[in-house]
Symmetry: C2
Amino acid sequence: MSHMLAETERRTSKIRAVDVLRQYAIAPTQQRVEIAQLLLSKPQHVTAEQVMAMVNVDRPRVSKATVYNTLGLFARKGLVKEVIVDPTKIFYDSNIDSHYHFYCITTGQLWDVGAETVQLRGLPPPPEGAVVDSVDVIIRLRPIAPPPETDEVV
Amino acid sequence: MSHMLAETERRTSKIRAVDVLRQYAIAPTQQRVEIAQLLLSKPQHVTAEQVMAMVNVDRPRVSKATVYNTLGLFARKGLVKEVIVDPTKIFYDSNIDSHYHFYCITTGQLWDVGAETVQLRGLPPPPEGAVVDSVDVIIRLRPIAPPPETDEVV
DNA sequence: ATTGGTGCAAAGGATTTGCAGTCTA
DNA sequence: TAGACTGCAAATCCTTTGCACCAAT
């Protein structure tokens, strides 16, 4: 983030963000619009901490509590998708098209894997009384030649 | 846990547990054997909290720190698999055969989905410099006719 | 003796919550 | 003005860590 970009380039327009929030039945408050603009600017995976930092770059705009509450709300409403790959934090994915993920267990990086080319078949039907909410596919990656672990050899 | 079961029925034999630990290059201390016996008794998904409760039913045997350290060690060594489906806790899976999971987002229940019948194809190759560590498939379930949320409408 | 393992309590980190002040319809 | 939202700080919850004691080689 070393260079300045015009607001209109760096972020989704305020108008559009308000519009999208309304579509998802979310009251467009100032803070929610700020966060939505960031998220909707492009497909990305961000943590609450990152949103907190991004939205408050130049000056305080949104408090930590509101960032957490807002991301939770967005996820419940379907504006973004939670990605559960790391037990220590939640990623929020602004790409809500059906897709899967590469996740590097060493660096914590996340990449999208488009669902178009992937064939996932033969899944058993859900247990009685339940319906499928979503299907996650996470391909966990490891760098080649991993650094020697604290594990010993037999 | 209202009925008593003989130790030999409820748990994997101590001999076998020691043996398995050795196979995984884990020094078989008393505490690790206790935990391994529980885990290996059957395919199951347990949290650290549950292990803590199970292993200490009749009398204190293993401390909380040791339960956490031991489960982490077992996972690193490959004796059990961590299942990351809930951002608030880790499940440890004593079934290390290739398989996938149903996860009820309402009740937190986990079921195994055998990998035999599932066809997962067309995955793109991993990014340069990385190799696939594992592939998780999580089918998130929701009870039919979910209870009304605390969400507001515009 | 040395090394590793355990237990306790304290620390840590992400997320949630209580509550008073603020905004908006 | 009422109902909703925000911000701050305190509280929670799961997990990790520091460190002294214990165990096994």
